[in-house]
């Protein structure tokens, strides 16, 4: 077996100390819960509730009990029913950063609002990128009523790609519509429970609070068996202590409180230990995802999640740059590699710019290569026993070189990761002859190729119609059903 290279910033003693502190925090200070159902569940489980302050004090025993019932492995399947994500151990899977407000239009060099055709192309492109194991509802469409934008994204994703979807809702009403779409693909609620097709993000509000909406999301996910992903986001020095350890303690407590609420709503339901913390920038007041300290918090809480034996998630492999430049590449590269080394099970980020606000298709194509390299890196170095090593250095090879030796022919494709044309490895002359193109423009050329050549799994007409009916009846509430009908005439 190859040695799986790993990044571990915390040792066992530190992990246990942070967990102890978080448990003490939960029992002494507690968490705010603004949701009635959540409060009721906690009350019934014997948690001490300060009714006036809506603050819940959770004892360690209750946390331990809920940790025990949370599944240690989550399998997520694509639309066709193939296993796509096996969330356990050090397995890693990349998916595009989700819910961008903008899209970067390279040809116009402009950041603009995304429209339906962008969403379609984005889904098709993601479908064709090998190292992205899931898609996400990555763009917020501006050409539909804003109230239904969250579920419209899911509708487009399911139509144009078969990969499973990392998503989430922005309002309480969104959940049911989105669940119905997923159920319609699988056939029944039970089938969806057995073969999850999507993951829903649920964000506690830092510090130590569950808002009505996100707590309800968490409970709804638990009941329907849709994997919930805890996205706890301490912002150092703004909504959390400024030290990385302080932020980690808060992050641990927020995740544990989420697991408790979730498992109380439905024992054994799948839940992912995750987050989107940031090292708050004290000069600009922004939340940089490309900061090295942000990534250090990510990598460390992932270790804590693993200590509990739970599947983990983080937002890494993204950048705060507003354009495709050196910064966008270096921040994304460092993030994806560190995430890979950390063994984070769900890594959301590729394509994203501007603090989780702007997506770029060109960047997605480039990041796909970074992800490919991360997969290669974690395979580690193989020790191949055959042939005995001295044979590798036969007189013949020493004279003629190794280019055509049987050993080279046998292994060169296995040992080396071959990136697409995005990564330039031509010599200077060749590069000049090919038009001196940058990676960004090479990526741009690939987009069309991938979208047009990809023979992705079409959804049956029957299922398409079912999906359409669901979004249409929702759109009707906002007077948008006729327009929708026109737009999707061909379905």
């Amino acid at each position: 077996m190859n040695r799986r290279p790993k990044l571990e910033l915390l040792d066992k003693r530190r992990i246990e100390q942070i967990i102890d502190d978080a448990l003490e925090l939960l029992s002494k200070v507690g968490v705010f819960v603004e949701n009635k159902e959540g409060l009721k569940l906690l009350d019934e489980a014997g948690a001490k509730i300060d009714k006036k302050k809506k603050r819940v004090h959770i004892k360690s025993e209750l946390v331990q009990r809920c940790l025990k019932s949370a599944p240690k492995e989550i399998k997520v399947y694509d639309r066709v029913g193939r296993l796509a994500l096996d969330l356990k151990g050090y397995n890693i899977h990349f998916d595009p950063g989700s819910a961008a407000l903008w899209i970067y239009d390279l040809k116009k060099d402009k950041i603009r609002e995304p429209v339906t055709s962008d969403l379609i192309r984005f889904a098709q492109l993601t479908d064709g990128l090998k190292y992205l194991k899931a898609q996400s509802t990555a763009l917020i469409p501006s050409d539909v009523p804003k109230e239904i934008a969250d579920r419209y994204r899911l509708f487009i994703s399911l139509l144009y790609s078969s990969k499973p979807v990392v998503t989430g809702t922005f309002v309480k009403e969104g959940f049911e519509v989105m669940r119905d779409m997923l159920v319609s693909i699988r056939g029944s609620e039970d089938d969806l429970r057995r073969e999850p097709l999507a993951i829903f993000d649920c964000c506690p509000s830092p510090p130590l609070k569950w808002s009505d909406l996100t707590c309800q999301n968490l409970i709804d996910c638990a009941k329907s068996g849709i994997p919930a992903e805890l996205v706890s986001m301490p912002l150092t020095g703004a909504t959390a202590p400024v030290t990385l350890t302080g932020a980690l303690i808060q992050h641990t407590a927020e995740n544990l409180s989420g697991i408790v609420i979730h498992q109380l709503a439905q024992k054994g339901s799948p839940i992912i230990y995750g987050g989107s913390p940031a090292c708050f920038d004290m000069r600009t007041g922004t939340t940089p995802m490309g900061a090295i300290e942000t990534m250090m918090i990510d990598s460390s809480y992932n270790q804590i999640g693993k200590y509990f034996g739970l599947p983990t998630h983080a937002y890494m492999g993204l950048s705060d740059s507003k354009t495709l430049d050196y910064q966008s590449g270096l921040e994304s590269g460092i993030g994806a590699i560190l995430a890979g080394l950390s063994g984070i099970n769900v890594i959301s980020g590729p394509g994203m710019l501007d603090f989780e606000s702007c997506q770029s298709m060109e960047k997605l194509v480039i990041d796909n290569e970074i992800c490919g390299m991360a997969y290669r890196l974690i395979e580690g170095i193989a020790f191949r026993k055959e042939p005995p090593f001295l044979e590798l250095f036969k007189e013949e090879y020493l004279e003629k070189g190794f280019l055509t030796s049987p050993h080279t022919l046998k292994w060169f494709k296995e040992e080396v990761f071959f990136p697409s044309q995005v990564i330039d490895r031509f010599n200077l002359g060749e590069w000049l002859k090919k038009g001196k193109k940058t990676a960004v423009w090479r990526a741009n050329e690939l987009i069309e190729k991938i979208i047009s050549s990809k023979s992705f799994d079409e959804l049956s007409t029957e299922k398409k119609n079912e999906l359409f009916k669901i979004i249409q009846s929702d759109a009707k509430k906002y007077g948008f059903d006729q327009e929708l009908k026109k737009r999707f005439k061909s379905l």
Binding site: L101, I140, S142, P145, K146, E147, A149, D150, F170, V171, G174, S205, S211, L213, L235, G237, A238, T239, D281, M282, R283, T284, G285, S357
Partner: protein, 223 residues
Amino acid sequence: MEKKLKGFLEECYNAVLEGDKQKAEKLATEAVKSGYDPYLVIENGLVQGIEKLGERWEQGTCFLPELVLGAEAVKAGISILQEPILKSKAGRKNLPRVIIGTIEGDIHDIGKTLVATMLSANGFEVIDLGVDVKSDNFVKMAKKYEPKFLCLSSLLTTTMQNEIRVIEGLKKANLRKKLKVMVGGAPASLSWAKEIGADLYAENAISAVKVAQREIGHESKRK
């Protein structure tokens, strides 16, 4: 007296630069006792300090905690200096009033609170309604307090739509022309402001102050 006053204003200015709330309070109390014109102390002392910090912040040489500490110092000073203003009926010149809040359905508040803090530190009277503020409530409060500005913060595309409802509500209550609506937050933009019929947009807390000051014809004195 002139010289003494100048030195005094300088001290106020410095207290803000140092983010020294206690000193600002002490100076404000002293100003009231000595009978200095409270507006003068606010505008030529405290506010100039925060404007300087704002300038430094834009240049990247002042950190957010320092900016906020400075703002807290100004706020503390203003609240003391306001007392005599409120008492004296004659010559009463109210601070320009602002109502601010995060729109219904949205609980993001870091940016909104920063904007509120910077506005109040720059001599605005700010009423902060918090987060997830019902559209009707914005209208109700606008009716009650008659602010010069109504500031709406939104970070979510799904709920920013509610800003339109606030504007509709203002129209119905005959308040629309009496105040300026300013919008902000990550998904907002100048074109969004135009689209929904808001008056103003600003991309961050410092420019929110500038935009509001420009509206009321207030120019920074220290260049």
